[in-house]
Symmetry: none
DNA sequence: TTGAATTTGATCGTTTTTGAACGAAAAGCA
DNA sequence: TGCTTTTCGTTCAAAAACGATCAAATTCAA
């Protein structure tokens, strides 16, 4: 049994402070005191230091973070309707990756789950247009290549004509693509034409296209189309995908795995 | 049969130290002492050696690993040197920005301060290779364009040949550039050649080049050069920049503002 | 084995960090 | 406004950690 009565090192504690501030945006001295189990004097001193460093701005009663946190929409809110499925799909996708491959991840929650699984894989090269995925892998793990372009706020991805400049210069073995909808008739679609544009280029160039999409995306059609179903080599989805539909997909040359 | 009560050899012990540090990210002297069964003096001496080798950073009470995949102790250090100055420099830089301009921010702590000031400016377009700056502006504010490329971990910036693909397609009115060093003789330099490469392209293309650098950067020369001083239109620095040096800079056609 | 060089551990004065105390300043409330 | 409560900054003392020094122990080479 590990005793936790050894106090944290000062920089460690300040790091936690920063983190707490970032998460809530603001925090009161007294709450920080209780959480970190030190005196208010220490908290004040730490905040003073962090203020010097520009990380934090002190206010009466507490402090506010100067660093903006990028909220993670996936792991909490509405998306966790299908979080289970997405996690499993991501794990299945992970098992498809071989050593030293170059892979592409587009934006979306499912691919973000996959990104999380890649944090230890230093052998890989990950190309992505997802800011979230890049952040996930920024500190460690695979070589990360971001494609440039305009940042689309709502999805936190880089999109638009500029993205093609980088995409033209790299080749990925496997492209793991999330999508807003896939459909026998209309192929792969998403809401934003710019997003679709980037996806389209990747789908054309990648060695394999692996679609990661839970069953709720089946037969859904959105505004902007970016690929035929035929371009998809493999669909990884969940068990709720009906056998008939799976059969139909296979008829089109799309391998299907449900997990 | 190897006895375990024979004390480990010094290099062997230091190796274990490194490993323990790597695992936990941090460790306190006292815990290390107990685990390795040597005196605190020995631990301190070992840590001193490892610090000189750059493997470890000592802090009061223990040490933090520099080679762990945790956090950003390096980036950390840089920021806290002159946060006050950097904040002021950033504010001065902010006042130079006009409506509806397109500006460039490279990586570095000073430009990050500037990025924070731009969070409300929806009229601007910000082009950047800094992941941190992009995160700051991801939720609101200016239009953000990231240049693509390989993510350089230590600075959290996108660098390398791929960056030029996007840079070639955009034009910015003003480029706000941080640097590791500027020097009358050697111009602008930074540590990483890839970083320098991107900076160089920007410096060539931008309408104006505005250098943001506190006085500690003066006459400092790093490995990779990316621009002549003559290309710089304006230097914003702090009051510690000597008047003689300022004069010399002006002779070279560089306007100087100290705040 | 002897002697020199290196490493280790203990001691001690100094520095750093921490928490508590207390008057001053700010915020809340009537 | 005037009063109370909370928070702040400063000062001070105790505790912990540090660096320097020196002696003992160990290692290495001759």
């Amino acid at each position: 049994m590990i005793q936790d009565n050894t106090p944290a090192l000062a920089p460690q504690r300040r790091e936690r402070l920063r983190q707490m501030l970032r998460e809530g945006g603001v925090a009161r001295v007294d709450d920080l005191r209780k959480t970190l189990e030190v005196s208010v004097a220490t908290i004040r001193r730490d905040l003073e230091i962090l203020e010097e460093e520009g990380k934090v701005r002190r206010v009466h009663g507490g402090a506010v973070s100067m660093e903006s946190r990028l909220e993670e929409p996936v792991f909490e809110n509405k998306t966790n309707l299908a979080a289970r499925e997405k996690q499993r799909i991501a794990e299945e996708a992970y098992s498809l990756i071989e050593s030293d491959e170059a892979i592409y991840l587009n934006g979306g929650s499912t691919t973000l789950f996959l990104a999380r699984l890649l944090r230890e894989r230093t052998d890989l090269t990950v190309v992505t247009n997802s800011l979230q995925a890049a952040i996930e892998l920024a500190d460690s793990g695979p070589r990360v290549i971001l494609i440039g372009g305009e940042l689309r706020r709502i999805s936190q991805t880089m999109v638009g004509p500029l993205t093609s400049a980088v995409l033209a210069q790299v080749h990925v073995d496997k492209a793991f693509m999330g999508t807003m909808g896939f459909c026998l008739k209309n192929g792969l679609t998403t809401t934003d034409p710019n997003e679709a544009y980037s996806n389209e280029i990747v789908a054309e160039q990648a060695g394999q296209v692996i679609l990661l999409a839970d069953s709720s995306k089946a037969e859904k059609v959105c505004f902007a189309r970016f690929s035929d179903l035929e371009k998809v080599d493999l669909l990884v989805s969940d068990k709720n995908l009906s056998p008939e539909y799976t059969k139909e997909l296979r008829k089109r040359g799309v391998k299907v795995r449900t997990v």
